[in-house]
Each structure stands twice: as structure tokens, then as C-alpha cells.
């Protein structure tokens, strides 16, 4: 256990020292929220304000982009630079390293979530359902872990860091723009498909918990869908895991 906490703390120190990445991961979603929120400040979607609706959408986008830019990049960087290979020469079980990384990363995800929701509340007067905060906290942790697993799966399967970045972007942008993170009322034919994308599943759960928005399908289906994505991500990450870049 001591080793786990020591590693997690070291990983967290590394993340906090990477100022450019940290500012990017925290600042970009907030700037996006401010810009989109100011487009039509008085609008509402159903019974909630558009700003509240967007705040949760931006939160999920921030979590997903963190998994793509941060987690996937970290694994490919440590692999390409031979750090994973060096770690393998030690008796450390690889799972301990990955779990320590996950723990540190989830702390950053929680910080990001608090900042985004805080800006939404302060700038746009977003009102939350206070009794939904605890379930939302659990969902942020679950969603962060699922996205992290998906990022690790892409990183594991891609032969090099360059290939991983291209693959991740090919997944990231369609997932973002075909979900209801920013756009309400997608065409029904599109929504029938995209409601199974992980960002859509998570945002529906979070909007239900934080804003009381009625989801398009039963919440347990969304939860199950997310868990399946997480499981698939873990399986792919384990099966295709590489200690060194492919030659």
C-alpha cells in the first residue's frame, strides 16, 4: 500500500509540474464554457438553463479530452522513452503502476470537475440539485475511470505515440460532436446511434444527477453501457499492452 501511495504521489507531482498540460486541461474547458455560455445567456433547454445544460456537457468533454491528451499521451510517452521497460526490470507489478496512475489522474479529474461546475455556478448562476452531488461525485469518478481505460486501450493498441494521437483524435471528435454535450435535440436517427457513445451515456447520467433532467432512457442502461465501455477498455488495454514501442 505504501508503494501505491508513493507512486501515486510521484505521478501527481509530475502532472502538476507539467504546467502547459495542466493549464491546457483545466483552462480549455473553462474557456469553452464561457464562450458557449455567453452565446445565448438567457436561453433554456427544457426546464433547465442552457448554461447549466452546457456546464455538464463541458465537464464531460473535459474528462474525455483529459483521457485522450493526458492519459494516453502519458502511457505512450513512458513507453516510447523506455521508462516502462526500465520499470519492467523492477519487481513492481505493472497493475500497481497503472492503479497509482489512475488514482492520481482521478484527483485531477475531480479538480477539473469542481472548477468547471464552480465557474458554471459563479458566472452563469447554475443551480444544482444538492442531493444529486454525491451520486454525481461517484459518476465523475466512474466516468473518469472509464475514459481513462479507453485512453489506455488506444495507447496500448497503437504501435507508436504518433499513431495513438491520430487514432485518439479519430475517436474523440466524432464522439464529442455526435453526442448531446453541446447540441440539444439531435436528429432522432442520429441520436438512436449516438446515445450509445460513452460521452452521451455519462452526460445523461450527470444531467439527471446534477440538474434533474429526465434522461432519454432508463439510467441503469446508461450506467451499464458505461461499465461495458470501461470493461472493454480494460480488456483491450491488457491484451494489447506493450512494454516497448513496436519496431
Amino acid at each position: 500500500m505504501r508503494r501505491f501511495f508513493f507512486l501515486a504521489r510521484s505521478v501527481l507531482v509530475m502532472m502538476l509540474r507539467d504546467r502547459a498540460a495542466l493549464i491546457g486541461t483545466l483552462l480549455i474547458p473553462i474557456v469553452l464554457l464561457l464562450v458557449l455560455g455567453l452565446v445565448n445567456p438567457g436561453a433554456s433547454i427544457g426546464e433547465v438553463s442552457a448554461a447549466a445544460w452546457l456546464t455538464v456537457g463541458v465537464l464531460v468533454m473535459g474528462m474525455l479530452s483529459g483521457a485522450v491528451d493526458g492519459d494516453m499521451a502519458w502511457l505512450t510517452m513512458t513507453r516510447d522513452r523506455g521508462i516502462l521497460w526500465r520499470v519492467r526490470a523492477s519487481p513492481l507489478p505493472p497493475a500497481t503502476l497503472l492503479l497509482a496512475y489512475t488514482g492520481a489522474r482521478l484527483l485531477v479529474v475531480l479538480l477539473k470537475a469542481a472548477l468547471i461546475v464552480g465557474v458554471g455556478m459563479l458566472v452563469f448562476g447554475v443551480r444544482l440539485q444538492w442531493d444529486g452531488l454525491l451520486p454525481a461525485l461517484g459518476l465523475v469518478i466512474l466516468g473518469g475511470a472509464v475514459f481513462l481505460a479507453l485512453g489506455q486501450a488506444v495507447a496500448a493498441a497503437a504501435p507508436t505515440a504518433g499513431a495513438a494521437t491520430v487514432t485518439a483524435n479519430l475517436i474523440f471528435f466524432p464522439v464529442i460532436f455526435t453526442s448531446n454535450l453541446f447540441i440539444a435535440g439531435l436528429p432522432p436517427q442520429l441520436e438512436a446511434i449516438t446515445r450509445w457513445n460513452p460521452a452521451y451515456l455519462l452526460v445523461e447520467l450527470l444531467r439527471a444527477a446534477l440538474l434533474g433532467v429526465e434522461p432519454g432512457q432508463a439510467l441503469w442502461i446508461n450506467l451499464l453501457g458505461l461499465l461495458i465501455y470501461g470493461l472493454l477498455g480494460i480488456i483491450v488495454a491488457i491484451v494489447f499492452f506493450q512494454w516497448e514501442p513496436k519496431r
Binding site: F6, S10, A89
Partner: protein
């Protein structure tokens, strides 16, 4: 396996899809010995080391460290080994001190701040304790990598080209440190391209070429046995050395590595 034998390799073979990296290497390395593995690029030195480190599984043959068999008992063997890889692998944003403590944690060791600084001091890095790895010079990074190989107080130290990319002063400082490791009773197995380094440091060397062990013995013995006669003009200037042996045994042409095949 005799208790004085720390590393025992028998008929080791490693085959990659395109070619053999190692084919039939057998050797034993004694406790407290400095052993050098020499060979041209792609000869199989790093692959042999990787099998001892538990990083690669042999296609055939056996590897034992302190009586433990690899890869079956890799977890136990890894606790006994100090490792410096050919490519220095460090997290740039952590300081030298933080890296010592992090790498020690990989082995479930938790040195105090004073102990970690004392280790860096041995490698002349005491004035760079707080410097991040990315800010260190190439020589300092190499010395830090060597320090990290000792974080777990290993019985066997495996060094892949420890003197590579170092200026002559740093290289000699590293040699002194390797001798110190031997003085502490550790077994050192190193690979090198520097015949000077091998001749200066190693009790015995093994020369590998094309994945095979082509010569094994003390540098002096190998020079006596294999060094070709020098042309008279050259003989007047110098004694035969390990480089003459190396070139005589591995040829003067450029080596083709298994990666290039």
C-alpha cells in the same frame, strides 16, 4: 550451481521473427566479478542482458541468477538486480532526489532523504539533488542512471554501455564507481563498445558476434591467445591490446544488426 557463481547461462538462444539475436551462449559469472560482454552492434549483448534482467524470455536454454531460474522466478531475481539500461529512461520533471526515492519505491525500498542524498553524493550529484532530470547534462543523467541501479542495494549490477556518451573525465569517474561496486562485493556485468573500458575494468570478458560467444577469458589471456602479430612499425610503438583481439575475432567490416535484416 556453485554458491560462488552468481550468473549462469546455458545454451541461451533468443530468436526474433527475422533472425537469431543470441544462439547458444553459455557462460558463468562469479560473485564479485566484473564481467564485460563485448561485441559489434547487433551481436546480442543487450538481448543477453535482457534475458538476465527478466525482460526477455529465452527461446531455448537457461539463465539462473543466484540460483533462481529465469523467467520462472523473475520476481525474486529482479529484487537482486540493479539495472542500468542502454537508453537512460528518466521522468524529466522529477528531481534527482525524487527519482532516487521513486525508483527505490519500485523495489519496495524507502530511503530517507539523507540516505538518498548520500547515494547521489557517491555519484558526484550531491550539488544536483534538486535539479530535474531534464536539466541534467548527458553525463549527469548517466551517473544518475547508475545511482538508480543501486537504489535497492543489489547483489548483481547489470550495466548496458555505462561509459557511452561520456567525456573522458566522466568515463573515468564511472569506472571508479564500478570498481567501488565490486569492492562492496557486488557482481557487475557490463556491455561496452570501448575496448579500453573492458581492458581497464573487467576481470573477464566474453566477445560475442552474430549471437555466438567467440571468446571468453581475462583480457590478458585473450590478448595472448588471439591478438595477431602487429606490423613491425606498429609493434615498435605499442603492445597488442583487446581491440586487436576484437577486430581479429569479429572482423573489420561493418556489422549488420538483426534489426537491419
Amino acid at each position: 550451481m556453485s554458491p560462488d557463481v552468481m550468473i549462469e547461462i546455458r545454451d541461451l538462444e533468443v530468436r526474433y521473427p527475422a533472425a537469431y539475436a543470441v544462439r547458444g551462449i553459455s557462460l558463468s559469472i562469479g560473485r564479485g566479478e566484473i564481467f564485460g560482454l563485448l561485441g559489434p552492434n547487433g551481436a546480442g549483448k543487450t538481448t543477453t542482458l535482457a534475458c538476465i534482467e527478466g525482460l526477455r524470455a529465452p527461446t531455448a536454454g537457461s539463465v539462473r541468477v543466484a540460483g533462481f531460474e529465469l523467467p520462472r522466478q523473475a520476481a525474486r531475481v529482479k529484487r537482486l538486480l540493479g539495472v542500468q539500461l542502454q537508453k537512460t529512461a528518466l521522468f524529466d520533471s522529477l528531481s534527482a532526489l525524487e527519482l532516487v526515492r521513486l525508483y527505490a519505491a519500485l523495489y519496495d525500498c524507502y530511503p530517507s532523504r539523507a540516505e538518498a542524498i548520500a547515494l547521489l553524493d557517491r555519484f558526484n550529484l550531491d550539488d544536483r539533488v534538486g535539479a530535474r532530470a531534464g536539466q541534467l547534462s548527458g553525463g549527469q543523467q548517466q551517473r544518475l542512471a547508475l545511482a538508480l541501479a543501486l537504489v535497492n542495494d543489489p547483489q548483481v549490477v547489470l550495466l548496458d554501455e555505462p561509459g557511452a556518451a561520456l567525456d573522458p573525465q566522466s568515463r573515468r569517474a564511472v569506472w571508479a564507481l564500478i570498481r567501488e561496486m565490486q569492492g562492496e562485493g557486488r557482481t557487475v556485468l557490463l556491455t561496452t563498445h570501448s575496448m579500453e573500458e573492458a581492458q581497464e575494468l573487467c576481470d573477464r570478458v566474453g566477445i560475442v558476434d552474430g549471437g555466438r560467444l567467440v571468446a571468453l577469458g581475462a583480457p590478458g589471456e585473450l590478448i595472448q591467445r588471439y591478438a595477431p602479430p602487429l606490423p613491425p612499425a606498429e609493434a615498435a610503438r605499442r603492445q597488442p591490446n583487446l581491440e586487436d583481439v576484437f577486430l581479429a575475432l569479429t572482423g573489420r567490416g561493418l556489422a549488420v544488426t538483426s534489426e537491419e535484416l
